[in-house]
């Protein structure tokens, strides 16, 4: 096709369907995005747990028993890996995505990331204490 700019014929390359397999960084990006699927699974799983608890002690016990079945364990191991991958990439990207200022001075990126990991640890410890009692 002749463009109005007067060239003989511009060649317009098409993007391959599996463009994200062509580079390691693209693949890591897609895996990072897919971690959201396991975030959704975790929400669903936790809601199933809440439903079981709401239906009485026997149902709660049955839920925990079913959760120990091999396929579900495998799924939750994979899910946990991806949820952690989400948390780590989220924390590591925050300093690049957000410039924080305290009293006019810019907070160094590494300090921000360390603070977020600390928050993750504190929240996790608190929730664990809350659950286990």
């Amino acid at each position: 096709m002749s463009s109005q700019l007067g060239y003989a014929r511009l060649y317009k390359p098409k993007v391959r369907l599996l463009w994200w397999l062509s580079r390691r960084s693209y693949l890591l990006f897609v895996l990072r995005e897919l971690s959201s699927v396991f975030v959704a699974w975790t929400v669903v799983y936790l809601l199933l747990l809440v439903r079981a608890v709401s239906q009485g002690e026997a149902e709660y016990e049955r839920f925990l028993h079913r959760a120990a079945s091999p396929w579900l364990v495998v799924l939750n191991v994979v899910a946990l890996a991806f949820v952690l991958f989400h948390a780590i990439t989220f924390v590591n990207l925050t300093p690049q995505a957000m410039v924080l200022r305290v009293r006019g001075r810019r907070v160094p990126g590494r300090l921000l990331a360390v603070s977020l990991y600390l928050a993750l640890f504190v929240v996790s410890a608190f929730l664990a204490w809350l659950v286990v009692g």
């Binding site: 809440v50 608890v53 925990l64 939750n76 946990l80 949820v83 948390a87 929730l127 659950v131 286990v132």
Partner: protein, 117 residues
């Protein structure tokens, strides 16, 4: 003012969901997905767990986390399908399925945590 798009607000929910998911979900999945079913630690007493769940702060907090995390999934998954599989022509259907799914999940969470428990 730019022509009113909903994108900025969805993005804020998506970001909030990312934070909520990152801080809260790993430990909860570890505990309830692996540690308790596999007996790594003794299961909390049923009464204790029910008590924790019935606390209004827990109810509110969990509904908020679930809603935000589901919107986070919906937004991210939509773009993964659009860009990863080049499904732009099905955007309408994808939007309905993703954000609709998030809405359904959020309603379910609210029902379970405010009514059922």
């Amino acid at each position: 003012m730019p022509r009113r798009t909903v994108e900025p607000f969805v993005w804020l929910l998506f970001s909030g969901g990312g934070v909520a998911a990152a801080l809260v979900l790993p430990v909860l999945l570890l505990l309830f997905g692996l540690a308790l079913p596999l007996g790594w630690i003794g299961a909390p007493e049923y009464g204790h767990l029910l008590g924790v769940l019935r606390n209004p702060l827990t109810r509110l907090g969990l509904v908020a986390v679930c809603t935000l995390a589901l919107v986070h999934w919906a937004h991210r998954f939509r773009y993964t399908l659009l860009d990863g599989l080049q499904l732009h022509r099905y955007d309408r259907a994808i939007v309905t399925a993703c954000y609709g799914g998030a809405l359904a999940g959020s309603v379910m969470a609210a029902y379970l945590l405010f009514i059922a428990v």
